[in-house]
Structure formats: structure tokens, C-alpha cells
Amino acid sequence: MVKQESESANRPDNTAFTQQRLPAWQPILSAGIVIPGFVLIGLAFIGIGVALLVTSRSIQVLELDYTGDSNGSPCSSCSQSDIANCKCSLNFTLTTLFQGPVFFYYGLSNYFQNYRRYGASKDDNQLYGDLSSFTSPSSSCSPYNYDSSKKPIVPCGSIANSMFNDTFTLTRTVSGTTNNVTLDGKGIAWWTDYNIKYRNPSVTPLKNAFNGTVKPINWAKPAYELDASDRSNNGFVNQDFLVWMRRAALPNFRKLYRRIDASGDYQKGLPAGNYTIDITYNYPVRAFNGAKKIVFSNVSWMGGSNEFLGIAYLVIGSLCVVMSVVMLIVYAKFKFPDEE
């Protein structure tokens, strides 16, 4: 008996796990799965590609550059002068209805919001409304944390300091009369940014929270006076500010400026006609060969225009189908010796 016991003590357990006999699914790339799979994927991709392409084609996009590089262009005078609030205007004509809802973007090129130091140059606590960070901004904001007289800058850092400050108004000329197209600036930022990530300090009036701080060097107005028309749209929850603070991933980007307010004549979008954009030109970009533009666009279920996606799907889909044919031929010629 004793011997029996000691024997079973040394004998390894006879379980599927220890004996490496666990039940297992052993897939193999057999022709019966791979070839039909390729055909299916190919067809699905072609289908999606067609749908995407059709949708994308139906989207209208209007891009207008207003950098003022060349001398004849409308804003060339402004681009060459350093005058604040330089005015210039841009005319365009729509021959057909620009289907609504229409979005109004401004775009910047060769602009590196994705530079590491640029991206890190902000103080999240400050932007979250933490008053202690108002008086001592994080060193990550350097060199935009204190001004020359050692006063803290709020909001600090490169991102805030470099906030885009051109403004636009859109007018439509109908039979000689000019009327303003209402632009809607509400809800153009991310919901989480507006509601969670950025907060004004809970001080009323807001101005008092900024006592002892200075506005960013490049700013014309302090943060609490960004929007004179809407008191709630000030401070860190100003929509334009939020849009700017959400940094772009790539050097050429566009950001949402306004939506065309779908009311009155503009219920269906921008009707055909002549339009003028009056630009308050403040933001210099020519120093670094940047470019500025205005974009009007509408959207579909899949967002804005996106030719690439549709074409890519079509290409991949067709390649899959072609591959499946190739594989079928190869398979027919060199099939497994045991295949019946």
C-alpha cells in the first residue's frame, strides 16, 4: 500500500492540460475556406467602396484660399502689413444650391500643431479651472507661463498663445442688397471638451478669477472677453478656443469655424448667388510659408467628402477577387496530393 501511495505521489497528473492534450481547434488554410473567403471579402469591399464613392461624390466642398500670397489676391495687402484687424474680403458665386447643413471651416497649412513641444505647452489644471494654476502656471507652458514682468499668463502655453484670431462674416448679395448670412457658433467643439475637460473657475464674475494674471501675449483680448455677444461663451469654454485647443494631428488641417444657420432663406443650405466673406485678417502665416483657407462643406452619414476611402475599398476589393482567381488556378494545379 505504501509503495502504491508513494508512486502516485511522483506520477505526474494525468490531465489534458499537463499532458498537452487539451481539446483544440486546429484551423488550416484550406482552399475551401480561403478562396471563398477572398471572394466574399472582395465583393464586400467592392460594395462598400462603391457606396462610399457615390456618397462622397454627392458632397459639395468649396475651398477658398485667402492667404494673400500673390499680389493680385484679395488679402495680399493685409498679409504684408502688420496692422491689427486688417480687413479684406473674398467674393464667390454659387451657381446651384449648396445643400445644407453647410459647415464653415478655416484651414491652415504647414502649421505644426502636432509638434511635441507645442502640444505639451499647456496647463491642464489651469484649463480645468484650478485657481492655484492661475497664479503659478505649469513649467510645461514655458516660455509662455510668465510674461516679462513675471506675471502669470492665463491661459498659458504655446497652444493658447497661438490661437487663431481671424474672424469672418458671410454676406449674400441678392439683387443689389447685401444681407448677412447667420453663422451659428454653438456646439462646434467636442461635447467632452466643452462639458468636462475645460472649465472656468467658479468665480463670478469670471473676470475676478483672472486678477493678477495677464492675457497671452498674442491675444488682443483677455480670455474672459473673447465673446462680447454671449457672456457664457467666454473663458476656457469659448467654442473657438476649444476648437483651437484640440490640436490637429497633421500639418495641414482645417477646423470648424461656424455652421450656416439653417433658417429663413438658408433652410436648405446656401442658395445660388453671390457671396462675400469679410475677413478680419490678424493671423500671420506667411513667415513660415503657411497658407490659410476657408472651406464650405456639407456632410453625409459618413462625414465629409472622402474620395480616398472609396477608392481604396474598391482597389482592395478587386485585388481580393483577383487573388482568389489566382489562388484557384494555383490550387487546381498544385493541390494537395491527398485531396480527392
Binding site: S6, F38, R116, R117, N125, T192, F288, F308, Y313, P337
Partner: protein, 1185 residues
């Protein structure tokens, strides 16, 4: 420890005075306390960390960590490095701590053993660790020797004592030690207490068989040798008690000096991995340089102009310095190409494989109750790459059990071949019989019973002519202690046939002959040696007749017979040839009657020779020769050196797997060749067996050359008529030797003797030797010393660059076990030394095939797949940053969230690949035993080499390109359906990261070939965990607590709700995976590997087994047979194509079927229930399994 080392190094000779602690303390000799542990509670943390940071990888990561603390450089938060680093360090620390804990425990146990020390004239119990140099201690029977002692006296006469040295050198036979005569007279403690001799001897060393010293006592000098020493680790046997003087204690003892730190073995994959890691470092530096140059250019061309929005840092303020910082920043973010988790993961996988080896029931030996053990956990995948096996013979191939199998008495042969006849029962005939003895021929017993005088004389000889010691614990319970197992077997045979050796004194031998006790007086023992190859005794029986009994090798003995034996001799010779052909070890037996005068005369000359001071050996030999003449032949014995179970089959399978097996044995040439035949290494249909036994350099060289010439000639002859033309040329072309030798097609074997090997291993001949030996199918080296064994292994390692495995069981195999890439110890009878030095141990040679072909193969496969995937994954992950660098001003901006970077390698993607590395199987275990050719990819290093590595990283880089540029192209102009652009950094980061996780998960899904429940859980769990963790990290709750840390609040939600994002991910996945899938499918179709084919047929068969059998009816059999026929055709060629596949197909078939017999049985049973069994059906199953 340090003072000890300096002390030892300074010590030139050791002076020890007995019973004088004060005197001995002057020298500060080490105490008897041993410490094998490395740490204690206080030193653990610093020492362990210090040790760990000696690893290059760890230091590298520490360096990265320091870089990350510099704000200008830090492109990643410090925790991205410290979390994995801390994880890795703590896992290793825990492992080290556990190991050390067990060492502490065993140290304590040893140090606290009790021993009796003579202090101030009385014996006192002391712990081992308190024993000092110069103490006199008392040892009792069966006690372990506590330190290296000088034997002073013993209870046995002449100061003799017996020890067993199994723990020291692995030999289980007893050895005799004798004290110096002056001290042996001291006897009891009272005298010993006054003993004040002083020993001057050599300093501590590790030579187990040598000791030189001098004892100074009472103005006299006595020289001391190893014969006077009892070494720590020995056990006192058959001796009531003895006293010894402690010469070396604790760490100075020969045992401890020998247990040096074993050389750390690394696998070839390890080395390759280290090279690759270095290359990757180089690659990393190159990437860093490129990006730094880019940064310099960017800062100069763009950044300087962009300063109005992004001012240069005051300390930077220069594009060159910025580039310099950018280089380090990129080193930080690109460091994930060399992930810290690589080494840990590799260790974890190896550990898993080791456990599978330990757990394998099919490597468990129920007789010895030992399971296989992977003692080293770091070598597993190398088991899949072995090309040469060096095997010991005794105890490894053979059981080292000798059985008395046959005998020839007076021209009559006894003993049957078949074991079908029932075993003889001796217990009725002889109460003293050994119950374990087996014999199958009752004619011999009859002949004993009827009192045939020759038969009686035959067994009388066996009971008298030997050097066996007997121990009779209680009446009739005899235990024989024999120097060689052959002798034991012979004496046991005599015992069972009624001639029982009972006891011996120096002058007498007492036996019980057919129940009657007889005491012979032993006049002389003419001992055995290698030249004489025989031994004799001269005894006087109670009646006073003097007779010489002699047993020895037939070659020497038959020459010394009386001429009248002619007839018997010729018959016996025939019998001897028969026995030898069966692989039995034979001895011839003879006697000679001596008259009183003859005896007197010879005895005189013997005494004279014995006393001679010069050439004593030769004179003795001559004296022996004189008397061993004119003998009467009694007969011959045949002893079977029992092979271990399954040895021939294992050797056959291993050689089918293209593994070359060399037998290295200390045994004689004849025995070795015998065993070679019986385990089918040598066969009769071999083209030629070359025997190299030259004693001089020239003769060995000549023999080797002749062998080569012969091989070339024969293989040409068989290859075609070419040989004929060159036959006339006197010398073979000397230069293209190696080329020629590689293409030898015949079946050759080489047997080389130890003394020839010594010449062959010399620098100028080793090349010749290797090329000759490697052209042979079997190589047997006999009479080799342990050192030569190691040299042979080293030679093959050096010359052939092949993975070697050494397997052995004895202390003499340790050197080869240690020097081979993989050492395997057989945990058998011969002590545990070999096992302790080995990397793997099990109790049966036949488990080797499972260890290599199943575990080794799987380990190799898994490790290779793991490494391929791991490098792929990390390149795909990291290189995205590189591409992004071109679009972000080379600013070392990461593409992903830093938490993602921290967790990617340790959470999101670690477990699926670990599961694959641990559980993957391409073909089931019994298939890899059936198709040994499946082992070949490992030997050729096909599954992971530099080429495969480049393919992997190319695939990784391709994936990274796709993962960056597809989102780039799609997202740059895309917007959400509410018009908000998608091209913001966080959306881009989340999209790319999600695409990456999905792509690498799909890739692991493709790579995993064996989906156990763990794989499912890990793959789907990791993917799930990615989403869960991401949503958690991007949640409002975490942000509210740490607004500074979680910038990505809301990104996951906002991004993953966009259909465009999912379309992007799907597109990226398709672009990454579709080409891989197509490539794999085409490769499988156009160039299937053997494993693919086996796997395929296996799966097809599984599918076919499923359809309801009842409906198939009689047709089932024929259909299967049709399939099986095709299958056999497909594989028959594979098996026979290999050069080494010389094993007769019959043997293989029977072997294969034997292994899977249980499976066949179940199928047969099934078949019985459903369809009438048909012969064709049955044979089909056999072929299919």
C-alpha cells in the same frame, strides 16, 4: 566570504595539529559551516538588484528611464518604462528569492547535522557547522562524513574502513580506506585525546582522487595519500565506527571545491536573439539619426520661421542642439522595438515548456517512480535542434544489470533463448536462493541435482573464484557486494544452483555446497587486470586437495589449457561464438589441480616476486603465468548486459530524425561493439566497420586515412563506375577531403579506442578524425576517459557547429554532460552526480526520443513562432512613430497615447502570444514520433534565423506603413457627421492604436495553429481588455481625479462612434492581412512543409472519422483503404529518401504500430460494433496511424 578567498589563495600548504584548536586557529581555516545561498534578508535587495542590472537589457532600460527624466528629452512619461521594468525586475527577484530560500533551507539542514567530536578527551555532540579543522571526530556506520578527514583508527582490523562514494563520484561500489599503521593502534578516545600529530599537506583543491601530505608524530614522518582520507559526502559502510582528524572543513572540502558554479548554458536561439537585439539597437540608433537629421533640417527650414507660434526653448535655441535632443527623444519612443518584455516572455515560455516535460506521463518511469525533470529551464528549444547525441553505454544504453543467461558445461550448452518457458523456481531446491534470479532451462538444474561432477565443479568455481564480499544480515539473507556486476551475476548464479558463497576472511572462503557447509582455505588470489584478462584463486579444500580455479576471457584462457581438452574446447568455442553473436559477455572457466610440491614451489616464487622492489608487477604477472597453465576446461558462461527498454527502437527513430549517435564508453572494445550490435547501431548489413586502435600518431593517422579511402572507394563503387577509374591512383586527392566526405553514401561505422582517440584529438589530426567519423553512421569510442568524452563533445561543437546532447548516468559522464549544449542525466542506479550536473534527467534512455522529437520539437517551433510574432508586433507598433516623425517636424511626438504605449506590450498583446508560445502544436505528439523527419527543420535552423527575422521585421514595417498612412489619408479630410473634423491628434491616435491592436490580434489568430481554451480566452480577452481599458482611461471619472494625466478624456467614445473610423480600421486590417493570407495559402499549396502535410492529412482524417459509421457499412473499409494507400505512397518516399533512413521498414512499422496500439485497439473495438472486421480494414488502420 572575501577573507576566506584571500586566505585560500594565500595558502600554500596546510598545517593541522590534532587536538589543538588554538594552534589551528592561527591559520584562520574555514569552518565547517557551508553557505551556498547568495543573499540574506538585508543584502537581498541591493545584491539582487545589482545582479539584475548587470544584464545589459536591464541597464539599458534604466538608462532610458534616466533619459526620460530630462524634461527636454522626455518624449514619454517616465512610467512607460518604469512599469514594465519594475514588473520584470520583481518577477526575477521573486524567482531568485525562492531559489535562495530553498538553498538556505538545505544549508541549514546540512549545517545542523550532528557529529561526535572529541573535545578535551571526551566525545561531545556538535553540529556540523561547529566542527573545526584539527578536531577528531567519531563516525558511525552509515553516517555521512562531515568534513575531509584523515582516518586515524577504526574498529575493523588493520585500521580498515569501507566507504561509499556515491555522492562524490557516483560510484556505488564500496571502497576501502586504511589508516596509517601508527595511528590505527590508538583505538579508543582516551588515546586519541592525547594524539598531537601534525599534518602538513597540500592546500584545498578539487582533485577527488589525489591527496598528498605528511604526518609528523613523535619525531617521525609518515606519508599520507588518498588511501588515508575520508572525504566529505562519503558514507561509512560495513564499519562499526572510526575516528578521523579534520583536515579540510566546509568550503575547503573536496566536495564543495568540486561543486563550482556550473557554466551557464545558452541556446543558439539565445545567441541569435542577442545578436538580433544588437542589430535592432543599431537600427534604433540609425532611425534616431535619420530623425535627428530630419529635425535639424526642419528646425532650420521651418521651425526657425515658426517661432512666432512655437518659440524655441531658451536652453535649446539652436537647431543642432534641438536635433541632438530629438535623437535621444526618438531613442526613447522607438525603444519599444526592443521590448523589455521579450526576455521575460521567453523565460516564461521556457518555464512552461519545462513544466510540460516534468508533467509528461509518458516520460515517467513507474519502476523507478521517477518523472522526467527539466533541471534547467532555459534550454528547451535547443532540444529541437540536436544533431549529435553522445551517449554513455553502461547505465544509459544498458541497465547495468548483468544476468546469467547461458552457460556451456563440458561441451553441453544450457539456457534458452525464448523467455516463454517458465522461470525456474529455486526456492524448493535451495533455501538460500536469490528470489530475483531468473533462469529458464531446467536441464541445468537437473544436471546439478543428479550430481554431475563437471556441473558441480563449474558452480564451485563460480562460488570461489571472485572478489565479492558478502553480508549476511540475518541467517540466509545474503547480500553480495561486487566490484563488477558481472561477478555479482556469476556468484548469484552459483548461489541459486546450490553453491552458495557465504562469507570470506582473508584466508578462508566459506560456502554451502548443496546444503553442506564447506570452508576452503584461500591460498592465493591471482587478481584480474586488463592485460591478464583473467583471475584465479588457489584454494585448499577440507580434504586438503589444492586446486586452482581460473576464469577469464576465452582468448587468453583457451591458450592455456591442457592439450587433452581439445575436443571440449572446440565445442565450447562454438558455443562461445554463438553467445557472442547474441551480444552476450562471455567468460571461459577452467581449473587445475596442484600437488603439494607444486604449490610449495610456486608459492615460494610468488613470495619472491611479491617482495621484489623493482618491476614487481611484471614479476608477479610472470609468476601467475607460470601456474595458470595446463588447465582443464570446465565450460563457459554467457552474461547478458541487459539493454534498457526500447533502446534499439529509440536509436532507430533518432537516426531517422537525422541525429547522429556516438557512444562514448569506458568499456572495452569488445563489450562496446557487442552493445553496438545489440542496440542496432551496428548491423551486419553495414558496408564496413572500421576499427581504429593504433598506439602511435602515425598508425592512427594511417588507419583513419585507410578508412576514408575505403569509404570513398566503396561509395564510388556503389555510385557508379567512377570508382574503377580512380582505383589505380595510390592516394586519394587530399584537398577536397571534406567535400568528398560529405557525400559518402555507404553505411559505415567507426570504432575507436581511447589511446587512439588521444592521438586523433590532437590539433593536427582532429580535422581528419571529424571528417572520417562524421561520414560514418555510427561511431563508438571505447576505453575513453571522462576528459576525452568532453574533448570529443567539444570537438564536434567546434568543428561542426552543431547542437550536441550528451547523455549519461555516471560520474564519468559529468564532464561531457557539462560541455555539451544539452546534458541529460539518467537517474538510475549509479548515484546522482550525473543528474546533478545535467540539464534534463529521466530514468530511461528511450524517453530521449520523446524529449527531443516531441518536447524539443514543439519548444523550438513555439519559440520560433513566438519570436517571429514578437518582433513583427513591436516593429509594427513602433515604426508608426517613425513615419509620423516626417509629419510632426521630427519632434518625437508619439502617435499613441502614453498609456497605450505602456500597456501595449504588457497587457494588450502579451498573453495571446504567450499562449501561442506555450500551447501551440503543429502536429500531435505521436505524429512527430512517427515521422522523425519532422525534426529536421530544427536542425537546419529553418524556423527562426536571420532571414526569417528580416521577413518578420519587413512585415512589421509594412504593417506600420499601412497603419500610419491609411488613417493619414482617410482622416486628414474626414469629418464627423456633425461636421467636426476627424483629423485632430487624439482621434488619430485612437484610430491608429485601435487599428494596430486589431491587426496584431488578427495576425496572432492567423499564427496560432492550436486553439486551446487558453488561446481563446487570451486572444479575445486581450482584445476586450483593450477596449475596456481604453474606455476607462478616457472616462470622465479618471479625468476628474487627475485632470493633468488623462488628456484623452472622451476620445474613445467620440472616435469609435464614427463609421469612418471603423471603415479605416477595416481597410488597414485588410491591407495588412490579405497579402499575408494569400502568401501563406500559396506557400501551403506550392511548397508545403512536411509538417503541413502531416497536419493536413491528420485533419482530413479527423473529419472523415466523424461521419456516421453505421451507414458506411462494408464500403467504409475499402474506401479507407483507398485513402490509406494514397497516404502511404505519399509518405513512403519521405521516409526512405533520407540518407540515414536505413532502418528496415518492418521494424519501423512494428514500432509505430506498437506505440499507437491502444488507439488501434479502440478503433477495432468500435469497428466490431459497427461493421464486420475485414483484414483490409485492419491493415489500413495500421498504416494510417
Amino acid at each position: 566570504m572575501t577573507h576566506l578567498v584571500c586566505c585560500v589563495s594565500a595558502e600554500e600548504e596546510r598545517r593541522v595539529r590534532a587536538n589543538d584548536r588554538e594552534y589551528n586557529e592561527k591559520f584562520q581555516y574555514a569552518s565547517n559551516c557551508i553557505m551556498t545561498s547568495k543573499y540574506n534578508i538585508i543584502t537581498f535587495l541591493p545584491v539582487n538588484l545589482f545582479e539584475q542590472f548587470q544584464e545589459v537589457a536591464n541597464t539599458y532600460f534604466l538608462f532610458l528611464l534616466i533619459l526620460q527624466l530630462i524634461p527636454q528629452i522626455s518624449s514619454l512619461s517616465w512610467f512607460t518604462t518604469i512599469v514594465p521594468l519594475a514588473l520584470v525586475l520583481s518577477i526575477t527577484a521573486v524567482k531568485d528569492a525562492t531559489d535562495d530560500y530553498f538553498r538556505h533551507k538545505s544549508d541549514n539542514q546540512v549545517n545542523n547535522r550532528q557529529s561526535q567530536v572529541l573535545i578535551r578527551g571526551s566525545l561531545q555532540n556538535e553540529k556540523w557547522m561547529n566542527v573545526r579543522v584539527g578536531d577528531i571526530i567519531k563516525l558511525e556506520n552509515n553516517q555521512f562524513v562531515a568534513a575531509d578527514l584523515l582516518l586515524l583508527s577504526s574498529t575493523e582490523p588493520h585500521g580498515l574502513c569501507y566507504i561509499e562514494t556515491a555522492e562524490l563520484d557516483g560510484e556505488t561500489n564500496m571502497k576501502v580506506r586504511q589508516s596509517v599503521s601508527v595511528t590505527s593502534e590508538l583505538g579508543d578516545p582516551n588515546n586519541l585525546a592525547s594524539f598531537d600529530g601534525e599534518v602538513v599537506c597540500e592546500p584545498p583543491n578539487n582533485k577527488l582522487d589525489r591527496f598528498s601530505g605528511t604526518l609528523y608524530w613523535r619525531e617521525k614522518k609518515y606519508s599520507l595519500t588518498n588511501q588515508n582520507m575520508l572525504l566529505r559526502g562519503c558514507v561509512l559502510r560495513n564499519t562499526e565506527a572510526c575516528y578521523g582528524l579534520v583536515i579540510f572543513a566546509g568550503p575547503d572540502t573536496k566536495l564543495m571545491q568540486n561543486s563550482g558554479r556550473t557554466k551557464f548554458k545558452r541556446t543558439s536561439i539565445d545567441r541569435l536573439m542577442n545578436t538580433l537585439v544588437l542589430w535592432i539597437f543599431g537600427f534604433l540608433v540609425c532611425m534616431g539619426m535619420i530623425l535627428a537629421v530630419g529635425n535639424a533640417g526642419w528646425e532650420k527650414e521651418v521651425g526657425s520661421l515658426f517661432q512666432s507660434y512655437l518659440a524655441w526653448d531658451t536652453p535649446v535655441n539652436n537647431f543642432l542642439f534641438s536635433a541632438f535632443l530629438s535623437f535621444w527623444s526618438y531613442v526613447i519612443i522607438l525603444n519599444t522595438v526592443v521590448p523589455i518584455s521579450l526576455y521575460v516572455s521567453v523565460e516564461v515560455i521556457r518555464l512552461g515548456h519545462s513544466y510540460f516535460i516534468n508533467w509528461d506521463q509518458q516520460m515517467f518511469c513507474s519502476q523507478c517512480n521517477t518523472a522526467a525533470e527539466a533541471r534547467t529551464t532555459t534550454l528547451n528549444e535547443e532540444l529541437g535542434q540536436v544533431e549529435y547525441i553522445f551517449s554513455d553505454k553502461t547505465g544509459t544504453l544498458t541497465q547495468n544489470i548483468m544476468t546469467f543467461n547461458k552457460c556451456s558445461i563440458n561441451g553441453q550448452s544450457y539456457g534458452k533463448d525464448t523467455h516463454n518457458t517458465c522461470r525456474l523456481d529455486f526456492s524448493l531446491f535451495n533455501p538460500l536462493a536469490d528470489p530475483d534470479f531468473c533462469f529458464y532451462d531446467d536441464k541445468l538444474l537437473e544436471s546439478v541435482k543428479v550430481g554431475d561432477s563437471c556441473t558441480h565443479e563449474f558452480f564451485r568455481l563460480l562460488s570461489l573464484c571472485h572478489t565479492v564480499m558478502s553480508e549476511e544480515k540475518s541467517e540466509g539473507e545474503l547480500v553480495y557486494k561486487a566490484q563488477s556486476p558481472d561477478e555479482g551475476a556469476l556468484v548469484t548464479a552459483a548461489r541459486n544452483f546450490g553453491f552458495v558463497f557465504r562469507s570470506r576472511t582473508p584466508g578462508t572462503i566459506t560456502t554451502t555446497e548443496m546444503g553442506r557447509t564447506v570452508t576452503y582455505s584461500l591460498l592465493a588470489i591471482l587478481d584480474f587486470n586488463n592485460i591478464r584478462k583473467r583471475m584465479s584463486v588457489i584454494v585448499r579444500n577440507p580434504e586438503g586437495r589444492i586446486r586452482l580455479y581460473c576464469k577469464g576471457a576465452d582468448t587468453v584462457l583457451l591458450e592455456r589449457l591442457h592439450p587433452c581438452n581439445q575436443e571440449v574446447m572446440s565445442i565450447t568455442s562454438d558455443h562461445l561464438n554463438e553467445y557472442a553473436a547474441d551480444g552476450l559477455r562471455t567468460l571461459a572457466l577452467a581449473y587445475r589441480d596442484l600437488s603439494e610440491d607444486e604449490w610449495e614451489a610456486w608459492s615460494e616464487s610468488h613470495r619472491f616476486a611479491d617482495k621484489a622492489t623493482d618491476c614487481r608487477e611484471d614479476r608477479l604477472a610472470a609468476a601467475y603465468e607460470e601456474v595458470e597453465q595446463n588447465m582443464m576446461l570446465l565450460g563457459a558462461t554467457a552474461i547478458e548486459d541487459k539493454l534498457q527498454e526500447g533502446v534499439p527502437e529509440t536509436i532507430a527513430v533518432l537516426s531517422l530524425a537525422n541525429i547522429k549517435i556516438w557512444v562514448l564508453t569506458g568499456d572495452k572494445q569488445e563489450t562496446a561493439v557487442n552493445i553496438g550490435y545489440s542496440c542496432k547501431m551496428l548491423t551486419d548489413d553495414m558496408t564496413e566497420v572500421f576499427i581504429i586502435s593504433g598506439h602511435t600518431v602515425q598508425s592512427v593517422r594511417q588507419e583513419l586515412r585507410r578508412a576514408r579511402e575505403r569509404m570513398i572507394e566503396l561509395s564510388r563503387g556503389s555510385g557508379g563506375g567512377v570508382g574503377k577509374q580512380l582505383h589505380g591512383s595510390p592516394l586519394p586527392p587530399p584537398l577536397p577531403l571534406s567535400n568528398l566526405m560529405d557525400n559518402i553514401s555507404g553505411e559505415f561505422a567507426l570504432v575507436i579506442n581511447g589511446h587512439s582517440l588521444a592521438h586523433a584529438l590532437e590539433a593536427d589530426m582532429e580535422a581528419e578524425f571529424v571528417s572520417t567519423a562524421c561520414a560514418c553512421k555510427a561511431v563508438i569510442c571505447c576505453r575513453v576517459t571522462p576528459l576525452q568524452k568532453a574533448q570529443v563533445v567539444e570537438l564536434i561543437k567546434k568543428r561542426k557547429k552543431a547542437v550536441t546532447l550528451a547523455i549519461g548516468d555516471g560520474a564519468n559522464d559529468i564532464s561531457m554532460i557539462k560541455s555539451a549544449h544539452i546534458g541529460v542525466g539518467i537517474s538510475g542506479q549509479e548515484g546522482i552526480q550525473a543528474v546533478l550536473a545535467s540539464d534534463y534527467s529521466f530514468s530511461q534512455f528511450r524517453f530521449l526520443q520523446r524529449l527531443l522529437l516531441v518536447h524539443g520539437r514543439w519548444s523550438y517551433l513555439r519559440m520560433c513562432r513566438f519570436l517571429c510574432y514578437f518582433f513583427y508586433k513591436n516593429f509594427a507598433f513602433t515604426m508608426v512613430h517613425f513615419w509620423f516623425g516626417f509629419f510632426c517636424g521630427f519632434s518625437a511626438q508619439t502617435v499613441y497615447d502614453q498609456y497605450f504605449i505602456t500597456l501595449f506590450n504588457i497587457v494588450y498583446t502579451s498573453l495571446p502570444v504567450l499562449a501561442m508560445g506555450i500551447f501551440d502544436q503543429d502536429v500531435p505528439d505521436h505524429r512527430s514520433l512517427e515521422y522523425p523527419k519532422l525534426y529536421e527543420p530544427g536542425q537546419l535552423n529553418l524556423l527562426f534565423n536571420k532571414r526569417e527575422f528580416f521577413i518578420c521585421i519587413a512585415q512589421g514595417i509594412y504593417t506600420s506603413v499601412v497603419l500610419f498612412f491609411v488613417p493619414y489619408a482617410v482622416l486628414s479630410n474626414a469629418t464627423q457627421s456633425n461636421g467636426v473634423p476627424l483629423a485632430d491628434y487624439q482621434t488619430f491616435a485612437v484610430t491608429t492604436a485601435t487599428a494596430l491592436v486589431i491587426v496584431v490580434s488578427v495576425q496572432i489568430v492567423l499564427d496560432t495553429g492550436f486553439w486551446t481554451v487558453f488561446n481563446h480566452v487570451f486572444v479575445w480577452g486581450s482584445l476586450g481588455s483593450y477596449f475596456i481599458i481604453m474606455f476607462a482611461l478616457h472616462s470622465q471619472t479618471l479625468f476628474r481625479i487627475f485632470p493633468n494625466q488623462f488628456h484623452f478624456v472622451g476620445s474613445a467614445q467620440s472616435t469609435l462612434l464614427q463609421p469612418v473610423v471603423w471603415l479605416t480600421i477595416a481597410l488597414a486590417t485588410a491591407i495588412c492581412i490579405v497579402p499575408v493570407l494569400a502568401f501563406r495559402f500559396l506557400k501551403l499549396d506550392l511548397k508545403p512543409q512536411l509538417s503541413d502535410t502531416v497536419r493536413y492529412t491528420q485533419l482530413v482524417r479527423q473529419k472523415r472519422r466523424k461521419p456516421p459509421e453505421g451507414r458506411l457499412g462494408a464500403r467504409g473499409g475499402s474506401r479507407r483503404s483507398g485513402y490509406a494507400f494514397a497516404h502511404q505512397e505519399g509518405f513512403g518516399e519521405l521516409i526512405t529518401s533520407g540518407k540515414n533512413m536505413r532502418l528496415s521498414s518492418l521494424a519501423l512499422a512494428s514500432f509505430a504500430s506498437r506505440h499507437s496500439s491502444s488507439w488501434i485497439d479502440t478503433l477495432r473495438r468500435k469497428k466490431h460494433t459497427h461493421t464486420p472486421p475485414s483484414t483490409s480494414g485492419e491493415s489500413t488502420y495500421r498504416l494510417m496511424t
